[in-house]
Symmetry: C2
Subunit: 149 residues, 2 copies
DNA sequence: CCTGAAAGATGTCCGTT
DNA sequence: AACGGACATCTTTCAGG
């Protein structure tokens, strides 16, 4: 799918505010409401926009610790590991990556003790390297056009 | 702020669908529309909900490579590094962490060549360790109640 | 593919319980 | 704090350029 300048403006607007009304959206991209609506629907149907989420503060709901956990896991254990991670609400994300780690997990826990307990519950799958997040100098930025093609 | 069962239902619903209407939301949590609306507004004002985002597929818009880049950076360079990263649209996220790495970046690039170029443009700030994301067995899961308190 | 207007649905603001 | 109704706004759909 090709995405022209106006569709990119739409993408940027709905990434900045996922609950923006079509009326506002249309105004921002200098289009009529039905035109903006159709473009957005097309983007959704093509899978360019694959969902809308409210962003909830982990801290505000009682998760005081966020961490990234890298794991080195033997091939035959991977499927079981993923199955277990899926049942653990502390795991917000699990990426299968190249390099020293097999997986990198994004985890939230109530406190350090809870983090220790979490790591203990998975480290029989392999070595873990835990990095506690102290701050997020750049947090979850919207995608911009790739440009220089 | 205290979050009771109904507010948690609201949080889960808007994390699952950030564009859900108040009418649907109210039905899901067995509340009237104004009641649901007020609770949601309170959650927003308290910073529990700090935004709404459309999720855009990096692949669909021309970013074929996602990677995590760990950096070891000397203290005096950190501020300049962050400033530079902020001006680079490839950087979706930058976390300041404990452990071997000073920062871990989430980066998207058009292709491997573009990734190499990106890493080259920042590696004078310190050593980098790049992990290319092959797949996301668990992608961006909503927050669940911490429970066992 | 965009525009403009109408009908249906939705969000907000009341007063009330 | 939550409910129900009235009004303003928004979304969707349709005809037309």
């Amino acid at each position: 799918m090709e995405i022209d300048g106006k569709s990119w403006k739409i993408l940027q607007a709905i990434q900045a505010d996922g609950r923006i009304s079509l009326t506002e959206l249309a105004a921002k991209v200098a289009l009529s409401v039905p035109a903006a609506s159709e473009r957005l629907k097309r983007l959704e149907e093509a899978g360019v926009v694959w969902g809308y989420r409210a962003l909830v503060s982990a801290e505000a709901v009682g998760y005081d610790v966020m961490a990234l956990v890298g794991m080195t896991t033997a091939q035959p254990d991977k499927a079981r590991l993923i199955a277990q991670l899926q049942s653990m609400p502390e795991v917000l994300e699990c990426l299968h990556v190249t390099g020293q780690d097999s997986f990198i997990l994004r985890v939230v826990t109530r406190n350090i003790r809870h983090l220790e307990q979490f790591v203990g519950s998975i480290n029989h799958f392999g070595e873990t390297r835990t990095s506690i997040v102290m701050s997020a100098p750049i947090a979850l930025r919207p995608l911009a056009p790739p440009g220089g093609e």
